[in-house]
């Protein structure tokens, strides 16, 4: 689940910023797959924003139709065991999915970048301790960290987002750390340091902008990881609670009606897969656009 993050780690950007910026969008949209990824993500965002306009029925209220109706013109994705319109639930579920992506990635990125920045910038024993801890967390695997966090916090969707966020911190820390080390050895940084720029200025004006690209790539791919992990937690019953239209939870509830009403498990699964695919394609595209050396 976490491997494309590991791949993204190899990204490092050596080009000057000015040249990168103007080429960026051209490169990003040059490949068909990145276009597709961007389109999927756009559709997802629109679906979430305009959910009340798109969804023909209330996602929670019952009585949209007969229970366990197969997909038809009135109910595109059929209805679930309580007669709720599955299409409407999936449309509303996209809001939760985006929320999961934003919050989980927000947590792991903020904490991870901070750790990586401090470790890389400070060096010495701070670096040694922080990166040693990151290594330890790394060897636990994301799943174990997320489970431990849920065990402490208790099952709920919010807690699942936090747990997933915490579990990915080591990735962001490592990437940021690596990128900081590269920047630190560059001439411009040494020059700034020589003229006596303050730490804050060095970190936020010099280092951070220059290491943004790999972080953006990882964050995009990170959304797909977060969506997968959080939906897995919900599927296991450790995330969203009924009657939430969260996709993993909807899928899990449909398990009981697997044989008679496979659509309840099929569509949420497809929704997760397509969303994750979208962010993966976009992330791959971003990486190629930002890092021409990676292009193959």
């Amino acid at each position: 689940m976490t491997q494309n993050l590991a791949q993204a780690e190899s990204t490092d950007i050596l080009e000057p910023r000015s040249r990168r910026t103007h080429r960026f969008f051209k490169d990003l949209l040059r490949t068909q797959s990145a276009k597709l990824g961007a389109a999927i993500c756009l559709v997802l965002v629109l679906m979430a924003v305009f959910a009340p306009l798109i969804a023909p029925y209330d996602p929670i209220n019952m009585g949209a139709g007969q229970a366990l109706t197969p997909p038809n013109l009135a109910h595109w994705f059929g209805t679930d065991e309580l007669g709720r319109d599955l299409f409407s639930r999936i449309v509303y579920g996209s809001r939760l999915t985006l929320q999961v992506g934003a919050i989980a990635v927000g947590i792991s990125m903020t904490a991870g970048v901070l750790i990586g920045l401090v470790a890389g910038y400070a060096g010495g024993w701070i670096e040694a301790i922080l990166m040693r801890m990151v290594d330890v967390l790394f060897s636990f695997t994301e799943t174990l960290i997320a489970l431990a966090a849920v065990a402490v916090l208790g099952p709920s969707l919010t807690n699942a987002m936090i747990a997933v966020g915490i579990s990915s911190i080591p990735f962001y820390a490592r990437i940021t750390y690596g990128a900081v080390l590269v920047e630190k050895n560059k001439e411009y940084f040494k020059a700034a340091q020589a003229v006596g720029a303050r730490h804050q200025r060095l970190i936020f004006r010099h280092i951070l902008p220059n290491i943004l690209s790999p972080i953006i790539v990882v964050a995009t791919l990170g959304v797909s990881i977060a969506v997968l992990s959080a939906s897995a937690l919900s599927f296991l019953g450790l995330g969203a609670q009924p009657p939430s239209p969260e996709w993993g939870a909807t899928l899990a509830a449909g398990r009981d009606y697997f044989k008679r009403a496979p659509w309840i498990t099929t569509f949420p699964g497809l929704a997760i897969a397509i969303t994750v695919l979208g962010f993966n394609l976009l992330g791959d595209g971003l990486r190629e656009a930002l890092d021409p050396q990676q292009r193959r």
């Binding site: 929670i60 209220n61 019952m62 009585g63 229970a67 366990l68 197969p70 997909p71 595109w76 059929g78 065991e81 309580l82 007669g83 099952p155 019953g237 609670q241 009924p242 009657p243 509830a253 398990r255 009981d256 009606y257 697997f258 044989k259 008679r260 009403a261 496979p262 659509w263 099929t266 569509f267």
Partner: protein, 544 residues
């Protein structure tokens, strides 16, 4: 996304049958050919034969095989096979002799004497006598490590082994529920040689006098039992007086209902508990399978409230919930006809369960009345009553609470659902009752008990959950315990029920609630569910 049927057919042809099944299971009913009916199942034509092995699959594993360490149905349904009880319930739920051939309760209700049948041996070959009974009871009420159902043993002052076949219980106060407790699995008699097993007892070893002996227990997977060749039946509601006919009984754990059913259909499994509800009709129609629905399970599912603080410290808020819900409609949506509306606080088959009487004192669906009450309390469309509704997972309860959530919303009560493990729920409810701040909650709880003493355990202060308490209720409940004469006890029980119902403290919803539907392959002959949902395998023979 949208596939027309023509394109689908093309895809289907191109990719081959199984690929299409894999990709689009929802659209492909044509894949069903092989497994829809069940060619392997016999249709009852052969003759029942002794011997052989039977696999019984349930959704989870036992917690312990020590009858004093667990209360889950998954656990006691297994240890009930390994141990026996002094008395038993017959088909009508009446108490009859079992390990004990006779019993007497003194007029003041302070002593109960049991005379044991002779010639009963424990699984390790030692004779079963009065000392074993004394050992069991003293272990249950011990100070340092009491039984988790200690409360049910009542106010025992001492236990005396009068002679090898006679045992006498002395109570500090009269205790009317004791005799029927001696027929319940939680009073299972443990042989005193269990002491030598130390920490292994209930974990990897067990020693009782029941029809089955424990062979092995692979945690999370299966419990293997073999027949106790020396078994003598004195009271269980079965025909076979001796050892079970089968050689082996294997209790398996398969969490998903669909998978349990699939295993039953392929013949890996012979008996399952809780088949998928929406397949019940198909099972009925299948000649290779039989459904058994337990009656008189003792199970009740009900609403209870945090009454120590707002909003449910006000009876009107509780009444509003009771009026707003329509349990019949909810049952119909979620369960169909395999579950019944329950109006009493004690279960069917238990003294005091009188639907007419309970209906008079309880509440029925009346959304207008609910809205009026809410308005009186100052709630309305602008500031709806918002509360948390909790229940424990499984048994389709997640779906029941979602339907209730919809019904409550219609009168303007907004609920947030939280589902959790039963143990967590027990702890949480207690915690909610003991907290003194924050918004109160309510929960859908379930209990199974064979006697109206359940009301005492739940509602006599401090009560199982430290819930609703009042001196008046305590006095009523004390009467149900100390009254030994059964007519007088019935009257006391009805008074307590009336109080609980009218005050909307205990709002009955439905029965049964868990592990009450069994499906067997048709070659399983003689399977029976005793009262209080006790599956019995003593009479089972397999048809060849």
């Amino acid at each position: 996304m949208v596939l027309t049927s023509k394109r689908l057919q093309k895809l289907y042809r191109r990719t081959g049958r199984y690929w299409a099944c894999l990709l689009l299971p929802l659209l492909v009913t044509a894949c069903d050919g092989e497994s829809g009916s069940n060619p392997a199942a016999t249709t009852g034509g052969g003759t029942p034969q002794e011997g052989g092995s039977l696999v019984w699959a349930r959704y989870g594993d036992a917690d312990s095989l020590d009858p004093q360490r667990t209360t889950t149905t998954l656990s006691w349904q297994v240890f009930d096979q390994i141990y026996d009880t002094l008395l038993a319930f017959d088909d009508n739920g009446e108490v009859v002799p079992n390990l004990a051939k006779e019993w007497t309760v003194s007029e003041d209700g302070l002593t109960a004497t049991f005379v044991l049948n002779e010639g009963i041996t424990c699984h390790d070959g030692t004779p079963f006598d009065a000392n074993d009974v004394k050992y069991t009871a003293e272990r249950a009420i011990s100070e340092d490590n009491p039984s988790v159902t200690k409360g049910a043993w009542g106010p025992i002052a001492s236990v005396e082994a009068v002679d090898s076949q006679t045992v006498q219980f002395n109570f500090s106060e009269p205790f009317g529920a004791f005799v029927s407790f001696m027929a319940d699995p939680f009073s299972s008699q443990i042989c005193d040689s269990a002491e030598e097993l130390g920490d292994d007892f209930g974990v990897s070893a067990a020693v009782g006098t029941g029809p089955w002996k424990l062979v092995s227990w692979t945690k999370g997977d299966e419990i293997v039992l073999e027949k106790n060749a020396d078994y003598q039946n004195f009271g269980r509601p079965i025909e076979n007086d001796g050892a079970p006919y089968l050689d082996q009984l294997i209790v398996k754990q398969i969490p998903e209902p669909q998978t349990r059913l699939a295993g039953l259909q392929t013949g890996e499994i012979q008996v399952i508990a809780e088949p998928p509800l929406e397949e019940l009709e198909a099972i009925e129609a299948d000649e290779g399978l039989n459904n058994y629905i337990a009656e008189k399970t003792g199970q009740n599912v009900f609403f209870e409230f945090t009454t120590s603080r707002p909003p449910f410290d006000d009876i009107r808020a509780r009444q509003a919930v009771a009026y707003a819900i329509d349990p019949e409609a909810a049952i119909d949506i979620v369960f169909g006809d395999v579950v019944k509306r329950e109006k009493c606080t004690v279960a069917r088959g238990v003294m005091g369960n009188d639907q007419g009487f309970c209906a008079e004192h309880g509440y029925s669906h009346d959304p207008e009345r609910a809205q009026e009450l809410l308005a009186e309390l100052g709630y309305g469309p602008e500031n709806p009553l918002t509360v948390t509704m909790m229940t424990w997972v499984g048994g389709n309860r997640e779906r029941m609470v979602q339907v209730f959530q919809n019904q409550l919303k219609q009168v303007g009560i907004e609920t947030e659902i939280e589902t959790m493990d039963i143990g967590t729920l027990n702890a949480r409810v207690k915690q909610e009752n003991e907290n003194d701040s924050g918004q109160g909650t309510f929960d859908m709880m379930g209990w199974a008990w064979y006697d109206p003493d359940i009301l005492h355990q739940l509602w006599h202060s401090p009560g199982a959950y430290s819930g609703y308490q009042s001196a008046e209720l305590d006095a009523l409940l004390d009467d149900t315990r100390t009254t030994v004469d059964s007519d007088a006890r019935l009257a006391a029980v009805q008074e307590a029920q009336q109080y609980l119902l009218e005050n909307a403290v205990h709002v009955p919803l439905y029965t049964p609630g868990w592990l009450w539907i069994y499906t067997t392959r048709s070659e399983v002959d003689g399977f029976k569910i005793g009262p209080f949902d006790r599956p019995l395998f003593n009479d089972v023979k397999l048809v060849s």
